[in-house]
Amino acid sequence: YALSGLKWHKTDLTWSVHSYPSPSQSPNLPDILVDNILRSAFKAWSNVAPLNFRHVATDSGGTAAGGDIRVSFNRLFHDDGYPFDGQGGTLAHAFFPGSAEVAGDTHFDDQEVWSYGGDSSSTDLFAVAVHEFGHALGLSHSSSDPSIMKPYYQGGVGDIVNFQLAVDDKLAIQQLYGVRDTAPSDGGDPHLPRLPSPPPPRPTQLSDPSFNERCQGGFDAVANIRGEVFFFKGAQFWRTKRDGSLVSNRPAQIQNFWMGLPPQTNKIDAVYERKSDSHIIFFIESQYWVFKDTEAMSGYPRPLSDWGMMRRNGQPVDKVEAAFIWAHNGKTYLFSGGEFWRFDESQKRQGVHIQPESGYPRDNSLWAGVPSHMDDIISWGEGDAYFFKDNFYWVLKNGGLNQEVVTPQSTAVDWLRCPAPPAEPTPVDPRFPKQCNCELNR
């Protein structure tokens, strides 16, 4: 077993339910049954350790409830920094004991189909509740088998009245609170205390001197590296994680992170991560560098001519404006001067320079609906291609090249945690100044 290092310094604990599963999602779980399931889940722990759990009720409005362990059913973002993800995936979480206001709080994803002894299409509330209350009491995830503290959902536990913890879990809770030598109370209390509601969360106000630079867009290069998106601008870059959060509001210095680029580097033209060996390729003017992790490999920079890209007018390419691997086919695409070339790097051999596939270059206009001179491109999400230009991005759905409508969206707002600009009236089309611009009634 594994312990979090935190525990309650008392053995009489109260619990309350702030919200119940939505009837539309979990129709077979009336509130009273939820209470009973949760009570039984607490009992699984109090059967083996000297803990007493007392249920405290909500007030008549159903909102003001307190207690040490506050249970709620929430959806997606619910103001605790740990958003849920809809049906499947994450099911629930709980906060470890402590003095923090959220300590012990237990949240279940309301978009799951919760059940009492249901089939595999639903999720057994009792099994998950025993697991989460284990966290609320101080236990971490266990790799032991069997253990209710394994992180993965293992299905229902059968008869909940006679459920017993595995030896691993008993030892864990007894390590924290000792061994129970008397029968536990049943958790009922005729005098249900009413406790005040916690104050609403207050957002933290941060000052950020690089705010304007980050939020005005116009990035030199954008790249999906190791599952994060890097936005390069001047001598700096920002990083966005897959969950949409920034590694830092402040930019990092390219020079301090990517070792081996020229000291005066203040503009990256394009970057991508090569999938065949996870090396990272940087293009700056007429040269390129290959990085193993954050260090340039020996022998670089090399001239762009290694790539064998010739324009249709017979001139060699002297600059790469955008580069990405299209998840749709795993091929590498390099863009320059309104044209693009395609490479199959899975065929690359050591020491041999790769050449473009035949039939290239082609015209950027083939990527209909997106700017023909983009800042950069990445594959992201479900294999979609994201085109960045100025402070906007366009998404071509997986494999799509010629979508009917591609609407630009704000890079600053969607990727760099910038506030949305105030709403402005729809601009008049300069070509038809007197014409109505309403799409609904034409």
Binding site: S4, Y82, F84, G88, G89, T90, L91, A92, H93, A94, T123, V128, H131, E132, H135, S140, H141, S143, D145, P151, Y152, Y153, N224, I225, R226, G227, E228, R239, K241, R242, D243, V247, S248, A252, F257, K275, S278, K292, D293, T294, I325, A327, H328, N329, G330, S346, S379, W380, G381, E382, G383, N398, G399
Partner: protein
């Protein structure tokens, strides 16, 4: 590399970070994850989940990463522990 594989790589990176197998980027140094570090993280995840330790995103590993689960991390504070250990070593 198919679209699905490429997307799995991205998702796996996110998954490994979310559940504590890959340390979060340090906001000061912002270290990049190395290829070896990612392989090691996959091995630890496989060991924790009772799978064969291959260090690669095989089908069993991807299946386990898609399983329903608790959203708390499996490995908590590994970086803090490492830092404490280094500090103790320096003092010695």
């Amino acid at each position: 590399i198919t679209s699905a594989q490429s997307d799995q790589y991205s998702k796996a990176m996110d998954w490994l970070g979310r559940y504590g197998y890959l340390p979060p980027p340090d906001p000061r140094t912002g270290n990049l994850h190395t290829k070896e570090g990612i392989e090691q993280a996959i091995r630890v995840m496989q060991r924790f989940g009772g799978l064969q330790e291959t260090g690669v995103l095989d089908s069993e590993t991807i299946r386990l990463m898609s399983a329903r689960r608790c959203s708390l991390p499996d490995i908590i504070g590994s970086e803090d522990r490492l830092r404490r250990k280094r500090r103790r070593r320096r003092k010695r």
